[in-house]
Symmetry: C2
Amino acid sequence: METHPRQAKVTMQDVANYVGVSRTTVSFVLNGGTGNGIPQETRDRVLQAVTELGYRPNAGARALAAKHTKLYGLITEIVIAPYAANIVRGAEEQAAREGKTLLIASTDGSSDSDRRAIETMLEHRVEGLIYATSWHRGVRLPALTAEVPTVLVHCFDEAAQLHSVIPDEAQGGYAATMRLIRAGHDRIGFINLDPAIPAAVGRRSGYVCALEEAGIGLDEKLVINEDGEADQGYRAAAALLDGARPPTAIFCATDRMAMGAYDAIKERGFRIGDDISVVGFDNQEIIANYLRPSLTTVALPFRQMGATGVALLAKLAANRDLAPLQHIVECPLVERTSVRLPVPAS
Amino acid sequence: METHPRQAKVTMQDVANYVGVSRTTVSFVLNGGTGNGIPQETRDRVLQAVTELGYRPNAGARALAAKHTKLYGLITEIVIAPYAANIVRGAEEQAAREGKTLLIASTDGSSDSDRRAIETMLEHRVEGLIYATSWHRGVRLPALTAEVPTVLVHCFDEAAQLHSVIPDEAQGGYAATMRLIRAGHDRIGFINLDPAIPAAVGRRSGYVCALEEAGIGLDEKLVINEDGEADQGYRAAAALLDGARPPTAIFCATDRMAMGAYDAIKERGFRIGDDISVVGFDNQEIIANYLRPSLTTVALPFRQMGATGVALLAKLAANRDLAPLQHIVECPLVERTSVRLPVPAS
DNA sequence: CACATCCACTAACGCGCGTTAGTAACGCGC
DNA sequence: GCGCGTTACTAACGCGCGTTAGTGGATGTG
């Protein structure tokens, strides 16, 4: 059983010769719809030859002649924070739906690395560019991006020149807090992130808004800002629980902090989802699913953001003068078992 | 500040006209080394024009003329198991080193999806193909892969026709067990995976080998097979600890099971890394780092496997008749704090 | 029988580029 | 003056393909 390593690639001309028609005819049956006057019989013979010969169009040559590549570029830090990989997933699915191919490159976030990645994309003549980050923040991209429709995902343009797709942090914070309120809690601790970052701002405003709506006064003693890691969640939860008037529920702005909070709660002999409710944020499956009890949390809609980004690219290609917009995607609450059963709606 | 959306792409000819030389000359200074007789002064003028005009070579056209694309394809299930994303990282880094670009596509693992992904790759005339999986197993790829050098990463060809890069599970299991032995343990529980899968086979053989080397008899009562999830780790650890002669250390074949085991151990009032040592496998940062205490575990060398895969591709391109090989990559032990301090080497 | 219509195709151009084969100008030795 | 070797370029082909402008034959129409 011999493989044919150096077998010359079969071209459209080969197919044409094989069938006994011109290359143009082959091109017509392969691309043109039914418009051209080519009878079914010829079509069949061409198609037959294509499979027999194993003909495969050359994407580069096709792009050269047709002047469009059907390529979208995706630049991401996925590599740093794998859990955001679902952005890629969503983007790929949407691209496939639109008949496009995704060229993916990663960046370490430095503007040098960004520039190189974008450069590569442009050399391949992508028809749209998505830049995705692993955490929600403002970015400033090299000016190169002006050459092609660009959409930011999970980040936004500090210069407000580019479209972006970002999660609705406030709504997420609201959903988490409201879930706790509806379970009957009225002293709800909040372990938030560095108040300077967008996620912290949004989640806090959702928290505040939910409390207000429920007529619960905001108690700043119940709010602690940390950096998102598990041990900080542990410390903050411990401080909360050992305080004068401890909360009966804790909303953690990251699942990792919730993971730490679990330890603090368990150490004190409380039972999670019973004595004390916990809600996280991020829906990092690996944590939320396997924590005991499993963690009710708010999902960052990575997959949908990726898809929205690509869909937006298509719109931009059609109309490049669309004013830059922030497209906000909802963060759904994912119910698991760390919150006590809700009080039946009154 | 007007952007120039539809600005026609500048071509090599534009650069030539601008400088007042022929296109060939431009091509020479851009690609040719110093071989051609082009004086520095002309070179400088061309280079100058390139930046002034913002010329960017067209990768497709170049590939068409030069008959090589400098593209490698990477097909992966990254999307299903994000934590294996480091394969992509390693592959990208290596590709960059070799001046290649990575075309990435994902598959859901179905042979249909595989075929489509490979087809896309081939249409783009990749010069090599990497197929990476999220867990170590045998795969069978569509015959299409015969058309281009192919390397499997984190999986192997059931037909033994393709090169593969796989982790040294046995050495990993050995390292984990030996670490425990050197800490003074001689009753070491082992929560393994489904014994049918390669990871379980390898890790067990490493476990057995280490025990043997230390003169510790294998006690099958200390070995439990589970499916890798946290709750199963919990159950298995509980069974081990509640048994007649409980172990003083547990080697878990996944970090997730270690996560569950932690709970079982803590519930029984033992202190991890003190009363009872635990070693995991996978080095899932998000778990291993943030578990309390942090988890000593064995790393799957994703990044290195990715890089090795790409490097292998380069070799294959040079010599397509290399006999299919399994390239085994070491799984390093990552020390954290879940094992009690080692007995000083005697 | 001349002419218009359709049908089923094909010749030929050009996309942007790498590359080969050449050319024109110049200097040098005799 | 001629031959020869450099130096500094350029003309032109072809990569595989989409596409436009045809062409030649069959069929209908008056």
